[in-house]
Symmetry: C5
Subunit: 95 residues, 5 copies
Amino acid sequence: MKVAKVSGTVVSTISFPFFDSKRLLICDLINARGEVDGYTIAVDVVDAGVGETVLVLDEGNSSRQIFGVDTGPIRATVVGIVDDADFGDFSLQGP
Amino acid sequence: MKVAKVSGTVVSTISFPFFDSKRLLICDLINARGEVDGYTIAVDVVDAGVGETVLVLDEGNSSRQIFGVDTGPIRATVVGIVDDADFGDFSLQGP
Amino acid sequence: MKVAKVSGTVVSTISFPFFDSKRLLICDLINARGEVDGYTIAVDVVDAGVGETVLVLDEGNSSRQIFGVDTGPIRATVVGIVDDADFGDFSLQGP
Amino acid sequence: MKVAKVSGTVVSTISFPFFDSKRLLICDLINARGEVDGYTIAVDVVDAGVGETVLVLDEGNSSRQIFGVDTGPIRATVVGIVDDADFGDFSLQGP
Amino acid sequence: MKVAKVSGTVVSTISFPFFDSKRLLICDLINARGEVDGYTIAVDVVDAGVGETVLVLDEGNSSRQIFGVDTGPIRATVVGIVDDADFGDFSLQGP
């Protein structure tokens, strides 16, 4: 998993029922120095908002488990809102 | 998933029935600053054209689900055309 | 697997029973020159503390095996505390 | 998938029947600017020669499908010889 | 697969029977210019020694096949000792 900050959203026409009424979040990945370092687009499961610090789990089988499906086309999921992430040299607090 | 811009196509003789009449798109991956950062070749499922902004899902099991096969040799798929991708600092609009 | 140093912990509200009473460790990955190079957040299974040198196994199926579950949403696990890691040019010793 | 140029071969004693009489190709990965950017060693399935431009599929389940095995120890396969790869700014032609 | 040079070993207390009496090798990955570029820790299956040039297969399902287990917590394996790796611009020879 990675700590990320939600920077925005994607609206896209994806014609697979799995994506119906699911939000796609652009998650800026935070590196060990607290900087943004890449991003991934993850499906939201915790109702995270733009600007929030979240945990992203980037594995298809894990993500399918979370949505309770055997076969959905999904790889990355926002699984949690971070209350506190202590990296040693710095830390990030949630709301 | 990643946001990408279709930059071109690949024509290749692949002797597996799965690839018959499927288009292979060269997808330039867009990073969190809006720059091109690497590419992947993905199978098209949304009839995307060169220059279009798309969503690329890069996981084999997900891609096989999308094509409804248990065992196709495929990893990355263009799953959607982006209507709007809001990265916070910039945004990309679709057609 | 990678050698890593535990730099901190993450507290996050994840509403999946799998994560109940599991510790999430921020693991700074050590590269072949002994420098920190990226991190991953892994579930602890060996009661590792901050500052300890550990082995991180970053594969979902492996991690699910370790926890004895078929379907948990997990990718990376701290599987061992390093007693001695000899990289040739340098080495790291455990406690 | 990635576009690659076959730069050489590997001869190695691998004592698994799967690898008997299979050729291992060193494939220089071509990035979106036409430069070599990393490599992977892939099993040949199209009789590609050194210097040829090929498509590399880097996923174990896909590769196992291609060889018609459920359990072979294989991750990357050269699945096609590129006739034409149009990256927008440049293109690569096959033989 | 990647060509690597064994630079050292890791001794770690891992309390999973799978790892009993298995050697963990630190494998410096060799890039297309012959330089060391990252490393991975792989389980030895060919009795490779420090300084030897080897082939590393980095996929869990493949590695489990090699050890003949359905469920072992393993991702990367040293599958062969390289006799000759011809990268075009340079080559590496085995013992």
